[in-house]
């Protein structure tokens, strides 16, 4: 099990670095997919199978597909993207350095990371997750679903056709006349 963990951890770290480092955006996306899959592997190691599968279905199977979709259609052939000016690069280096510093400080001063006492192997199983979700965390769960609902409604509003748009080209003849009248 420990060996498996180290292999998965190595894959996650390497693929995460590839996401940032890859020149070709499609390669980045693939690296991110690999990263997500290895994280799902970590979930399985923690016996959180439900979380692992939902993670794969939602992130790898849906969100990353859409990412890939967009990148394919954008056709970003030029590697590296547009050249940045010196000032931009300098600013990026400073900002990144500061972030790194903050993180390092936080980790150094932060609480010692200790494994949670008495890990319950059953905590990630569907039955348990469901019970916790619908009792202890019912309110946050419902609130987040309302959030999703509003997102759906928003998308429908954006995608909705205007009334005075050209009629459906597939409808011709008298039916078209009837509808335009």
């Amino acid at each position: 099990m420990a060996a498996l963990f180290y292999i998965l951890a190595a894959i996650s770290v390497i693929s995460a670095l590839t996401v940032v480092g890859a020149r070709n955006p499609v390669n980045s996306v693939i690296a991110l997919v690999v990263c997500f899959l290895s994280i799902a592997g970590h979930y399985v190691l923690l016996n959180a199978q439900f979380l692992a599968m939902v993670h794969v279905i939602v992130y790898t199977g849906a969100i990353m597909v859409l990412f890939l979709f967009v990148i394919m259609l954008l056709n970003l052939n030029k590697p590296g993207g547009p050249r940045k000016s010196l000032a931009m690069r300098l600013a990026a280096a400073v900002a990144g350095g500061l972030l790194f510093l903050t993180l390092a400080a936080a980790v150094r001063q932060g609480v010692a990371i200790t494994p949670a006492a008495g890990f319950d192997p059953g905590v990630g199983l569907v039955r348990h997750v469901g019970q916790v979700l619908f009792t202890e965390f019912l309110l946050p769960f419902e609130v987040s679903s309302v959030l999703f609902l509003s997102a759906i409604v928003g998308v429908v509003m954006l995608a909705k056709k205007d009334k005075d748009e050209a009629p459906d080209p597939h409808i011709t003849g008298p039916e078209r006349a009837r509808r335009t009248a």
Binding site: V26, I30, V33, Q49, V56, T60, G61, V65, L73
Partner: protein, 341 residues
């Protein structure tokens, strides 16, 4: 992993490949018979060696990679398609318990608690094979094919998921083995979930890219769709993956809605448990083969949908129906509980 499991997985692998290979033969035979022809009959008696001949031909062809293609992704595409197609068979219960040499084996690779979600997850990864293969070809038809594949898969996964939700509510488990056992105890799910079954079936056609939803390939519009630029065994892998997917979805349909390896009334006959298991496995395969035939039957009977019709059907038809199905199932289930007291 014990030796028995390893052996079982090996057998499963070989069986899956054989069934996929013979599905190509069956496809041609079924197509021929539905069109008043007799189909391939030259390689061996009744042409049963045809898959071997086809496979040999595939291997002998030149393995061509277009100059402008992304070589690595071009190779990765068919590999992903094939691997994901072969992975799902592991969680499907192919039979009950078999007692050999004093030990009991289950005819199932593994029965995780989230079996059906595992199938879903793998299927949703499978679309990468098509997308990467199509994009890496650097061909507009291939790109269109892969874009269609992606949007079709994402759209129909929702409808399929909703039909599963109702089923899971009824069965109280996500494990495929558990679902079969529940059906053995309470009757097949098709009785309780006819609407869910139809939604699932339609979505299964879309997810496996089979006609009438074979938009990603779509010979008449997109040359060959995502596999336009592929040749030799890379093309073979894509085609093989399609047939493997068909086999697996047929098995999943039989498992979820038609009792899997359960044969009504078989356990009352008082047969030897091993024999019962074997008959159950045979029944499972019979159900699966029927659905493979059904897939082919539909392919050679119906014209292809237009892409906007496909999207309309998925988003405006199946998803609302799926939601309604979940609501109805929940209500009826609850009322039944109340009535029982």
């Amino acid at each position: 992993m014990t030796l028995a499991t390893a052996l079982f997985l090996l057998v499963l692998f070989v069986v899956t490949l054989t069934v996929a290979a013979y599905s190509t033969y069956a496809e041609r035979k079924v197509a021929a018979f539905l069109q008043d022809r007799i189909g391939p009959d030259r390689a061996g008696p009744f042409g049963i060696l045809q898959p071997l001949a086809d496979g040999t031909k595939m291997f002998m062809k030149e393995d061509f990679i277009p100059a402008a293609a992304n070589r690595r992704l071009f190779t990765l595409g068919p590999a992903i398609a094939m691997i994901t197609a072969l992975m799902t068979g592991v969680v499907i219960p192919w039979g009950g318990e078999l007692t050999l040499f004093g030990e009991t084996f289950r005819l199932q690779g593994t029965d995780p608690e989230i079996g059906i979600l595992f199938v879903f997850a793998i299927v949703s990864i499978g679309v990468y094979g098509i997308m990467l293969g199509g994009w890496a070809s650097n061909n507009k038809y291939a790109l269109l094919g892969s874009v269609r594949a992606a949007s079709q898969m994402v759209s129909y996964e929702l409808g399929m998921g909703l039909s599963i939700v109702a089923l899971v509510m009824l069965n109280g488990t996500l494990s495929l083995g558990g679902i079969v056992e529940h059906q053995a105890a309470h009757g097949w799910n098709i009785i309780y979930q006819p609407l869910g079954f139809i939604i699932f079936l339609v979505c299964a056609f879309a997810e496996t890219n089979r006609s009438p939803f074979d938009m990603p390939e779509c010979e008449t519009e997109l040359v060959g769709g995502y596999h336009t630029e592929f040749s030799s065994m890379k093309l073979g892998f894509f085609l093989f993956a399609e047939y493997t997917n068909m086999f697996i979805s047929s098995a999943v349909i039989s498992t979820l809605y038609f009792g899997g390896y359960h044969v009504p009334g078989l356990d009352r006959l008082g047969l030897d448990p091993n024999l019962t298991t074997l008959i159950g496995t045979a029944a499972m395969f019979a159900k699966t083969f029927f659905f493979i035939f059904f897939f082919m039957w539909v392919r050679w009977s119906t014209p292809r949908f237009r892409f906007d019709q496909l999207m309309n059907l998925g988003w405006k038809g199946l998803i609302p129906l799926g939601i309604a199905n979940v609501l109805i199932t929940g209500t009826v289930y609850h009322l039944a509980e109340l009535w029982k007291g």
